[in-house]
């Protein structure tokens, strides 16, 4: 067994385990920290595929920025344990389960259809130079469109924050 396969198994198992902790834990802070750990395992998997840039962005953006804000909000609101909430069957749960099943079937179909043909061959697909070149040549329009979208979101949040409460 090569080193890459060993690393893949270790990172994959720990990533899935932390994902389970995220959705099963009753304590919101434990959930959030498990998710952070999960992002680190994902970053490790990217590194394993020689996608250094993707790996470091995974940590920088998701673990370092987004999850910090999530934890910030959890602590500010001082959310109690979820156990106090009453568990009851609602239409929302039913729809969620339905969508989950559909997604699972899709995954199974994709796995069965591809069966190893879609494996990445290029080794430096995730390097900074490759991604930069692709973004500013082939994908320039979507890139600029996304930046406009983000700008709109920033302006929107500023306007919401500046609104006076009567």
């Amino acid at each position: 067994m090569s080193l890459e396969i060993i690393l893949f198994i270790v990172l994959g198992v720990m990533g899935i385990a932390s994902g389970f902790v995220t959705i099963t834990s009753k304590n919101p802070v434990v959930s959030a920290m498990a998710l952070v750990f999960h992002f680190f395992m994902l970053a490790g998997l990217y590194l394993n595929m020689h996608a250094q840039f993707m790996a470091v962005l995974q940590v920088l953006v998701y673990a370092g920025a987004i999850m910090v804000l999530v934890i910030f909000v959890i602590m500010l609101l001082n959310l109690g344990d979820e156990e106090k909430l009453k568990e009851k069957f609602s239409i929302r749960t039913f729809v969620a389960v339905l969508f989950g099943i559909v997604l699972l079937i899709q995954f199974v179909i994709i796995f069965l259809a591809s069966s190893g043909s879609n494996v990445l061959k290029e080794s430096n697909i995730g390097s900074v130079e490759m991604i930069g070149n692709e973004l500013f040549t082939n994908y320039l329009f979507p890139f600029e469109a996304i930046s406009l979208l983000l700008l709109a979101a920033i302006i929107g949040s500023v306007i919401l924050a500046k609104r006076k409460v009567d």
Partner: protein
């Protein structure tokens, strides 16, 4: 497999040496310098009992911390209370994976890099990622203590670090545009013959310096542990070596920020005097030692600056801190990026 084994052995030896250096240079020397310089500035004598000139004082301090009782508040979350200092110190140390301490040495035909992975393609982004992850240690420490002052200190620290991370990253973009690479070792090599980046990026350096003060929670940005308001901030409920780990991480972070500034703006391990004066060949141990010493002299000068500022400047108010971060540093950083872009386009 023997090549793989050799890599593991080499990395382990390097890691042990780097860890020892961090403990000794940043932990021991940093604390000693801080106490001695603060004493000079405040017209006191400072530590002078343990060892010659009080040089062994930091070791006595650490011994005391080890022997202290480790208290965990009853209402605290014990797991996260234990985890928080480990995260803080671990992240502070992890940055050294990508920091080069010198060029290479040739031993028995092998070119050995002075650093764990100094040629990593994404080194600067890795440093930024680790700084942003460092917030978790402080946040969790404050939250898990179940103490109002701790929580407030942690929240302040998080808000402060998130705000200043932006200007820090944008200030770095200027250097990256000049260098055209994310690898720290490449950036250092480009600064040979005293063509230090500070000449090309003076504004970027000042922005990075201010942001680094805020990121390391040092005065005048030490609001997370503002004693008159918050008792001790996020580490109020910590004692013994857990407090020691937070304390050491603070000094390690200060050293890291200094090291990054030296690497990006002051030529990193480029020697202070030309290696040719002593007849050192590239790859020889003599040149490596000279580079190593030059690097640490530069770092210590930056650390002295950090300490000097801490004991000279009063603390900001919280709204002043946020105004400075968002309304002064961020626009200036964006202007710096735009200016660098225009100038490098014109010079092409």
């Amino acid at each position: 497999m023997s090549e793989f084994l050799w890599v593991i052995i080499e990395s382990t030896i390097k890691a042990v040496i780097i860890l020892t250096l961090i403990m000794l240079v940043y932990g021991a020397l940093g604390v000693y310098l801080e106490r001695k310089i603060s004493a000079w500035i405040q017209n006191r004598i400072g530590p002078n009992r343990v060892g010659p000139f009080g040089l062994l004082q930091p070791f006595a301090d650490v011994l005391k911390l080890f022997l202290k009782e480790d208290l965990v508040p009853t209402a605290a979350n014990p797991t996260f209370h234990r985890l928080a200092p480990i995260i803080t110190l671990g992240v502070a140390v992890a940055v050294y994976a990508v920091i080069p301490f010198g060029d290479y040495v040739t031993i028995a035909g092998r070119n050995i890099q002075l650093g764990l992975a100094p040629n990593a393609n994404i080194a600067i982004l890795f440093v930024l990622a680790m700084t942003s992850v460092g917030v978790y240690g402080i946040t969790l420490g404050g939250w898990s203590s179940n103490n109002k002052y701790s929580l407030l200190g942690a929240l302040r620290s998080t808000a402060q670090m998130i705000s200043y991370e932006l200007s820090m990253g944008l200030a770095l973009v200027g250097v990256l545009m000049v260098a055209g690479t994310l690898s720290i070792n490449q950036i250092v090599i480009q600064q040979s013959n005293y063509h230090w980046n500070i000449i090309y990026q003076p504004l970027g350096f000042i922005l990075f310096l201010v942001a680094a003060f805020a990121e390391t929670n040092r005065a005048p940005f030490d609001l997370p542990e503002a004693e008159p308001e918050l008792v001790g901030g996020y580490n109020t409920e910590y004692s013994g070596m857990k407090f020691g780990m937070f304390f050491l991480a603070e000094y390690a972070n200060m050293g890291t920020s200094s090291a990054i500034m030296v690497l990006l703006y002051f030529g990193g391990w480029q020697t202070l005097v030309p290696g040719g004066w002593f007849g050192f060949e590239p790859g020889s141990i003599g040149l490596a030692l000279l580079q190593f010493v030059s690097f640490f002299i530069k770092i210590e000068i930056m650390v002295l600056f950090f300490i000097w500022v801490r004991w000279s400047v009063p603390r900001f108010r919280y709204d002043q801190l946020m105004n400075l971060g968002w309304k002064v540093l961020l626009p200036l950083a964006i202007a710096n990026v735009a200016g660098t872009g225009i100038v490098s386009l014109l010079l092409k």
